[in-house]
């Protein structure tokens, strides 16, 4: 018997809006409302409104909570102050990826990890098994306590400011504040998965529809558009953000995925550290690169990468990006082919199409915008 799909607190709101619903990571989620390209462009040019309540939250608390987070995550959580967030990765002993997470420092001795929807149970079990030896720290899966609403795009701050007394301008990138938004208590975080400036609002499931409707109304005259998982995927890919489970998983290490910048080499031990140090010192044999197609076509997940007549890698993500209007993708290739301008061939449905390695990110938001 198939497991029934989980629904977010905003499920009926999406259905009433006529969203196309699809299964994703065990959840029934809106994939698009009016069309992926329109939604994608709205986020780049104005603002988009996303329900990302499927994301999970695992909180870690106790006198040794910092030591626990340091043991579980690759990045150095000691660098966090209360009110700051950090991108980090959970790795296995061999340095491969369990999940990528955002670590929020809520208070002294209290952290929150935001994890991928499909990994909540796996991560929770993994965290509990690795936290046992740390001392005074415990983990709680608090996913059901939160709805998560993302407002992303250059007009996000302006739109949300009409709904809150909190000085949004004073919240730095990867920082958060608590306060009321549309009369509802929220944690307002300047984070996102689109490559744009924007916010993620943690609210209670009961109040989520109020917040959603208020943002929608406040954004109407500013070009805000509800956006589904389809646009979320093309936006994150255009911004070269990795999708866990697709661009990295238990067969790829943090270093191969190009995330060496989230490894706290100088901090104490963490799960996977010795394997990552070994790989760093010996050199990685393959890397995740970005590529752009020179010929016509669209590269997609699973397509083979060739140099001459040899298969040298596999595409992990690929699409025709709506804003740049280019066919781009990511692929693992041997290090010697990872240099910018390296020539590759992508096999697209029986045809080999020329491509070349480009620097990531494919898209970077204009620097005159907030904290870009």
């Amino acid at each position: 018997m198939a497991t029934p799909l989980k629904q977010t607190p905003l499920h009926s709101v999406h259905c009433a809006m006529g969203a196309k619903m699809v299964p994703f990571g065990g959840w029934e989620m809106p994939v698009e409302y009016v069309g992926l390209i329109k939604e994608h462009l709205a986020v780049r040019n104005a603002a988009g409104l996303f329900d990302v309540s499927h994301m999970g939250q695992i909180e870690i608390a106790g006198g040794d909570a910092l030591s626990a987070v340091q043991r579980l995550c690759t990045n150095d959580a000691a660098a966090l102050n209360i009110g700051q967030a950090q991108y980090s990765v959970l790795t296995s002993d061999d340095g491969t990826v369990v999940d990528d997470v955002l670590v929020y420092m809520l208070a002294d001795g209290h952290y929150m990890l935001v994890v991928n929807a499909g990994n909540i149970e796996k991560d929770y079990a993994w965290i509990k098994s690795h936290i046992k030896d740390v001392g005074d720290a415990f983990a709680v899966n608090t996913s059901s306590r939160y709805a998560l609403i993302a407002v992303q795009g250059p007009k996000a701050e302006h739109i949300l400011q009409t709904l809150t007394e909190v000085e949004l301008n004073s919240i730095a990138y990867y920082a958060f504040a608590t306060g009321e938004i549309a009369g509802v208590r929220a944690t307002i975080s300047r984070t996102g998965y689109t490559g744009e400036d924007g916010f993620e609002l943690f609210v209670s499931p009961q109040t989520s529809a109020t917040v959603w409707d208020s943002v929608l109304r406040a954004g109407e005259s500013n070009g805000l558009q509800p956006a589904g998982l389809g646009a979320r995927d093309t936006l994150r890919l255009e911004a070269s953000m990795r999708l866990c489970g697709q661009d990295m998983d238990d067969t790829s290490t943090v270093l191969e995925a190009g995330l060496g910048w989230v490894v706290g080499w100088d901090k104490g031990d963490f799960v996977g550290k010795s394997a990552l140090i070994r790989q760093r010192d010996e050199g990685v044999l393959r890397r995740l690169v970005g590529f752009e197609l020179d010929g016509r076509g669209i590269a997609r997940h699973g397509y083979k990468v060739y140099v001459d007549h040899d298969v040298i890698g596999t595409v992990t993500s690929g699409t025709q990006t709506p804003f740049l209007n280019k066919a781009v993708g990511m692929a693992y290739v041997p290090t010697k082919y990872a240099k910018v301008n390296s020539e590759l061939l992508i096999e697209i449905r029986g045809r080999r199409v020329a491509a070349h390695v480009v620097k990531m990110p494919f898209y970077k938001r204009p620097t005159d915008r907030k904290n870009a």
Partner: protein, 124 residues
């Protein structure tokens, strides 16, 4: 959406509009709706000959790719090159924006296609 009665349909969601010996071929409104925003249409060269059911090209949206199958056998005598630069026309008006024109090899093959009513009930 009503399905034009002057078209014949396949269960794979292509349509053909017959004009004497020639047929314009495209995909249905249901197909474009399922695909979402079309960003790429790959079509064959003029002169290629296909049998009924052969793959003659593909259509890609941002998120998916779908093969195109010939509703009937025939020789390609025209290709809609406008779709190379404006693939979104497939979404806007799927029953007018044809992809290829074939000269039918065997008009009897039309009998295996379904009419608008049958197609509408097929997709529910």
């Amino acid at each position: 959406m009503t399905y034009p009665t002057d078209l014949r349909y396949t269960k794979d969601h292509e349509w053909i509009r017959l004009n004497e010996q020639n047929g314009h071929i495209g995909i249905t409104d249901y197909a474009q709706e399922q695909l979402g925003d079309v960003v790429y249409v790959e079509l064959p060269e003029v002169g290629r000959v296909f049998a009924q059911g052969d793959q003659f090209g593909s259509v890609e949206s941002v998120k998916a790719v779908s093969d195109l199958y010939c509703p009937v056998g025939g020789e390609v005598i025209e290709v809609n090159t406008v779709l190379e630069t404006q693939p979104e026309l497939v979404n806007k008006n799927p029953h007018e924006n044809w992809m290829i024109v074939v000269k039918l090899t065997n008009p009897d093959e039309l009998a295996s296609l379904i009419d608008a009513d049958a197609y509408a009930s097929l997709i529910g």
